[in-house]
Symmetry: C2
Subunit: 333 residues, 2 copies
């Protein structure tokens, strides 16, 4: 075992055994849940081993379809995720689930609730479920989530669902990470203008009207159809379908999976898959590069160049642009 591939770190008070990266990666590729979990923990802990892990995983990535699930609180996002997993499993697919909570930079841990509600699948070794808190880094989602995706991808997941807790910016970020974005709506969740304002009508590849047994479901569908019809679309562009579901009873999820398959084929056919994945890789490379620069600037270690520049700006002795120039001069030298 080489020194770079082993560590005996202490995280959260627990003493951990030494790790061999090639061994872990081999076991994760064979679908061993503990190895997968351990690799994702290395991602969350920002372990120095990650360079080696990602290099080892790279040739085995690119197979999974990454599906983002977004929607306002109350549309039944958790129930839908659960029902979608059930449907995908019934079709014999291996499924990964990442529940991301970007609104909680303070909590380093997972959301108990996510684990509890997914207990239908807790004993199924064709399903990996992981809750992640994205911490307060500049990178946010851009940093940890794509790396966790790589782990699940290399571990042989056919489909990886990313669900975000919370609304707003994070929804848009999720769409940036996914191959296919599913936007959930439900009757009685506020008017169409609200939905438009949240931006979700511009990011959906598949729209799901959940709670379709309730009053108003047809109206939501009609409104959606109208808005989709209004959008400018190039020839050959994807036209987002609308599927009605009652996730609580597992109804309509087969149609959702059909649309996911159809979208995947469309993505692969026209080169859009490569474009989306290249864009995702760009963001990921940038986030890593910027984090490395921040470390150089002294973001982590005590008094630094950046601190001194910031003090001058705070005192009105300098302005942020001049300070940024001086900071960049330190990188280039």
């Amino acid at each position: 075992m080489s020194p770079t591939s082993t560590t005996g770190s202490t995280t959260g008070g627990r003493r951990r055994a030494a790790v061999s990266v090639p061994d872990l990666v081999e076991r994760a590729r064979a679908g061993e849940p503990r190895a997968v979990a351990r690799l994702i923990s290395l991602v969350e802990d920002e372990s120095p081993l990650l360079r080696e892990v990602m290099a080892a995983l790279a040739p085995h990535t690119g197979r999974a379809q990454v599906v983002g699930l977004t929607g306002a609180p109350g549309v039944g996002k958790s129930t839908s995720t659960n029902a979608l997993v059930t449907e995908l499993r019934a079709q014999g697919k291996r499924v990964g689930v990442l529940a991301v909570d970007p609104s909680s930079p303070f909590s380093g841990g997972a959301l108990l609730g996510d684990r509890v509600r997914m207990q239908d699948h807790a004993l199924d070794d064709g399903v990996f479920i992981r809750s992640m808190a994205s911490r307060g880094h500049l990178g946010g989602l851009a940093w940890t989530t794509p790396q966790a995706l790589r782990v699940l991808d290399a571990a042989g997941c056919d489909v990886i669902l990313i669900e975000t807790v919370g609304v707003g910016q994070s929804e848009v970020e999720i769409a940036g990470l996914a191959d296919t974005t599913v936007v959930l709506l439900a009757p009685g969740m506020g008017d169409g203008i609200q939905a438009a304002k949240a931006g979700i009508l511009e990011i959906g590849d598949v729209y799901v009207v959940n709670k379709a047994d309730r009053d108003g479901a047809d109206q939501v569908r009609r409104d959606l159809r109208g808005m989709i019809a209004l959008a400018d679309r190039a020839e050959g562009a994807w036209r987002p379908p609308i599927v009605k579901t009652v996730a609580q009873r597992g109804e309509g999820l087969d149609r959702v999976v059909e649309e996911l398959d159809r979208h995947r084929e469309w993505l692969a056919g026209g080169g859009e898959l490569t474009r989306r994945r290249t864009r995702r890789a760009r963001d990921e490379i940038e986030a890593i590069a910027v984090t490395a620069l921040r470390a150089r600037w002294g973001d982590v270690h005590g008094r630094s160049e950046l601190d001194e520049l910031a003090a001058a700006v705070a005192a009105g002795e300098s302005d942020p642009y001049t300070a940024a120039d001086e900071l960049l001069a330190t990188v280039s030298s």
Copy 2:
């Protein structure tokens, strides 16, 4: 007039007259609303004149108290902002209001609603009101909002209120920008665990229980008091007060202003003001530096080094760490 201080730009189809930065800054400092508005537009447009503007403003900044207002939808944030402005004006203070919508990277414009609801103050030249959409940049709030704050600060505002539309991450970002963060709650808005999860209980300097005439207001106050009592606090640390208001009728806002004043004194007394502002300047300098780097990496202009690295990562031929190393090598050379 020097060539660097003039421009005749066309933005959004409108032809604009040439600008003299020294002249604009002088007029803004004298409190001329049109000059202030124009400077904030330069911020929103990411004008190349900003370097000159910020250098000219720097010596005149640092006087205003920046107050962040956060709270879940439905607590009466807009009404409270409006009532707080009324109270501050009654005390003869000059007030700036920035309404930021970070959830809307798609919309470049202001929110009509914000302007409408603030119409009480539309004709008062002691109040500057501005809605800003933070676009989809890496910097997000970190980029445009602090620069708009500098403009309002130099224009002689005593207090600048920043209100964010939306919840989650943006709330935490607002707290990072503010000297004083006011967290609004109201009865009937969900249980305490929800509030804790959103992280808002860890960022408040002043808590306001709005709609205090409704059932359950005392319970919210008791819950809050309990949580505040539980928090670890060093000696001499600020203990967040809880104020009850009925913003709709303007009740209790005088107490909120008292607490803002008290917090300001505390901040100035112990050096915390300088610490907070230095941290804010750090983030701002970093956001500018990172944006400059992204431009070098070819974020804006066509095919680039970064695009090629991203394509290799997307194809599984490289991994993001190796690619980030190669990217950084181009900066240092």
